[in-house]
């Protein structure tokens, strides 16, 4: 499918940047005239993916997090969040609802929410090398409307 537009952002894996990343993604995608509900969903999935990179990828040693947002025809968007941190040993286990390796401030619901709010999610990870989360979603246009 033909790519119409893209942006890439690289920032330090510090928690203060979680808000920056989700607001930036939402601002870039405003050109698709998304509904308030779609904006809330986009901000939430970005926040979950970026928080995972910061908390689980890097922990207390912040490294670079990159976020790429692409726009395709018919309102299809793809958000790619990548870190070069610890990686995930067991991806299916990490994606199990309520599973977390974090402390009591994590609910283990990040992947469930990313799955619930996007149409497609793919996770690639290599222990010691980092993790890439790719999410696709239809926003605004005919496609999203016809899909209800």
């Amino acid at each position: 499918m033909k790519e119409l537009n893209r942006m890439t952002l690289i920032f330090d894996g510090r928690s203060v940047n979680e808000s920056f990343a989700r607001v930036t993604a939402a601002a870039f995608l405003a050109q698709l005239d998304p509904t308030l509900q779609e904006i809330a969903e986009i901000k939430t999935v970005v926040s979950e993916a970026v928080t995972n990179a910061i908390v689980h990828g890097y922990g207390d040693k912040p490294g670079p997090v990159s976020m790429k947002v692409q726009i395709f025809a018919e309102g299809k968007i793809r958000i790619t969040v990548r870190d070069k941190g610890r990686g995930i040993e067991d991806i299916p286990k990490a994606m199990t609802p309520c599973f977390t390796t974090g402390n009591e401030d994590r609910a283990g619901m990040g992947f469930s929410i990313m799955q619930g709010f996007s149409d497609k999610i793919r996770v690639r990870s290599l222990p010691g090398k980092g993790t890439t989360v790719v999410m696709e979603k239809y926003v605004g246009g005919r496609e999203a409307v016809s899909r209800g």
């Binding site: 928690s15 979680e18 969903e41 928080t51 994590r106 609910a107 990040g110």
Partner: protein, 100 residues
């Protein structure tokens, strides 16, 4: 940011702004400080002023539920914006706390 009101051992905490991993530590410790100070029988969390909430908000509720349970009290959530209600339903929080 939070504000609160205590009446007859019912502590109502109103949450404002954004709840994410970055802000939730401060929110948790502020609420826990109030719970320890007032020993309420019921903790009501009012979400009407919350603009954004991700899974960190689920952890805020779960942790407060555990704290209130250890003190013999309960937690109730009120005035949830639609999107936050959706996220909390994914985590099945209704099993543990009352949601208005």
């Amino acid at each position: 940011m939070i504000s609160y009101d205590v009446q007859e051992r019912i502590l109502t905490v109103s949450l404002f702004g954004e709840i994410d991993h970055h802000t939730s530590a401060g929110i948790r410790s502020e609420i826990d400080g109030l719970v320890r100070k007032y020993s309420p029988l019921c903790l009501i969390l009012d979400f009407a002023g919350v603009d954004f909430c991700d899974s960190s908000g689920i952890a805020v509720v779960l942790g407060r539920y555990r704290l209130m349970q250890s003190l013999g009290g309960e937690v109730e959530l009120i005035r949830l914006p639609r999107n936050i209600r959706h996220i909390f339903d994914m985590a099945d929080l209704r099993r543990l706390v009352k949601i208005e």
